[in-house]
């Protein structure tokens, strides 16, 4: 009985919040990058995911070389989807040669609130204060 109820629960999957950071190779042209970014946005929305936020950091220096490249295009997707979609999107990331590195993280409620506040820009000032305190 217990197992039955469990399986029922997994059938009615609840959407969770996720965040993916992807590093694209710096070799891509602007258009290629746009295509690549759009591809994954499409993949998320087509599989029942809901885009919450998308961010491009542009060409950023890496802290250490990856595949002999010292820079990369960082892209961030924040989305809501069912957990079984994650393996799908990660498989797509792995197969893509344009991607140097990716990281998908599930967000807890504090993280969701944090990201929202960061996006609204209300975070900058209290954060600076904290930083000063930390320096002391």
């Amino acid at each position: 009985m217990a197992t039955k109820t469990k399986s029922n629960k997994t059938e009615s999957v609840v959407a969770k919040d996720y965040e993916s950071v992807i590093i694209f190779t710096p070799v891509l042209s602007d258009e290629q990058l746009k295509d690549a970014v759009a591809k994954y946005r499409k993949l998320i929305t087509e599989n029942g995911g809901e885009m919450v936020h998308e961010e491009n950091w542009g060409l950023t220096k890496l802290a250490y070389p990856i595949q002999k490249k010292s820079t990369g295009f960082y892209t961030l997707y924040e989305f809501r989807s069912t957990p079984d979609f994650i393996s799908k999107i990660e498989l797509a990331f792995r197969r893509d040669e344009r991607i140097l590195r990716f990281l998908t993280v599930s967000l807890d409620r504090h993280a969701v609130i944090f990201n929202q506040r960061k996006r609204n820009g209300e975070f900058n000032q209290p954060k600076k204060d904290l930083k000063q305190e930390g320096v002391k």
Partner: protein, 92 residues
């Protein structure tokens, strides 16, 4: 006998409490009500890492156990996405 005990007691105090009592450490997350650590924020994470890039122990930073775990998790994530280096000579 008395003299000896007088001599030994300040020495013992010196052993247990070096110099003046230090300022009490506190957990900056608990104090400031921070509930989430952003692994993309390299400048913030640098405070929990020494200049070789190693994670600093709790006894130096004063972070509570609950948040030390989150610090470690965030630093490791940051390393994976090349926001922080795995090793370095002079990070600061």
């Amino acid at each position: 006998m008395k003299k000896k005990s007088n001599n030994s007691s300040p020495a013992m105090v010196f052993n247990t409490m070096p110099e003046a009592p230090q300022k009490k450490k506190f957990c900056r997350f608990k104090k400031n009500g921070i509930k989430y650590l952003d692994y993309k924020d390299a400048n913030f994470l640098l405070k929990f890492v020494n200049d070789q890039g190693k994670i600093l122990p709790r006894r130096l930073t004063g972070t509570s156990l609950k948040y030390q775990r989150k610090v470690a998790q965030a630093v490791k994530r940051a390393r994976h996405i090349a926001v922080l280096p795995f090793t370095g000579d002079s990070l600061k």
